[in-house]
Amino acid sequence: MEQQLEKALNEINSQPDTVGCLITNRQGLCLGAAGKINPKMSGIGMALSEQACKLEPNLNPPTIVLYSGNKRCIIQKDGEITGVIYKESSSN
């Protein structure tokens, strides 16, 4: 049933510098997670994307990038789902 979703998440996680990813629904419930990421992060990721969307309600949902050291967290809302990807670059 959810094999395709798991496969998609694993593929996303195998991309360069990516250490973890998850998908959450509009209620902040984790639909699936892969790699080094806490599934409990889903609620926070969804809330952040919801708040960011309020800045420009008439535009497409913005992409949020949080930087910390050599790590970054990318959050993107699209329709009913919100994606969160953790990346860690070896340099920088």
Partner: protein
């Protein structure tokens, strides 16, 4: 202060030594005040007066300047200066042990450092929204990597497709009748 000593001894020998000045001049009850004349009989012995005197009464032997008096006065000046002078070089601080000197140097430099840090601390305090970030300039110059956005767009698209393929194959009856007797 060390360099002052030879000059002083030279002066003393010049004024007192060759002029046969007695060392016990100070014990003669000479008590200087703001009213005391530096040269005791300046009125009679001032060069200007002397000149006028010698011009007017050339034969007056009283007007002849007394060399000894002048020398005595000068000697007294030198003596008094010697009494009133504070020789810093001869004080206790000069006789400090080398180790003690080092200790004091450390102490003073430590105190200076403390004071300096007290002065510097208000200006060193970082202000602004990014004050808790070690290198804010690094992050401020960062722009969003287009690769990240592309990756996210592709991922969302992929997940959308995957979610669309989720099907629930029901093998049993969805509505289950309760068998209430």
């Amino acid at each position: 202060m060390e360099y002052f000593r030879p000059i002083w001894s030279c002066m003393s020998s010049l004024f007192c030594g060759c002029l046969h000045c007695n060392d016990d001049l100070t014990n003669q009850g000479y008590d200087p005040s703001e009213r005391t004349h530096l040269l005791s009989d300046t009125v009679n012995n001032s060069p200007a007066l002397r000149r006028t005197n010698s011009e007017n009464i050339s034969s007056d032997c009283q007007s002849v300047p007394k060399k000894d008096d002048q020398q005595n006065a000068l000697c007294r000046l030198v003596q008094n200066t010697a009494i009133n002078m504070i020789d810093v070089g001869a004080m206790d601080s000069h006789n400090l042990e080398h180790q003690e000197c080092d200790v004091r140097i450390k102490l003073y430099s430590h105190r200076l450092q403390q004071q300096w840090s007290n002065i510097q601390s208000p200006s060193k305090r970082v202000k602004g929204i990014l004050k808790d970030i070690p290198k804010p300039d690094v992050y401020l110059t960062l722009s969003v990597n287009p690769e990240d956005i592309n990756q996210m767009t592709a991922a969302i698209e992929r997940v959308h497709r995957a979610l669309a393929n989720i099907k629930i194959d029901h093998k049993e009856a969805i509505v289950v009748p309760f068998r209430i007797p």
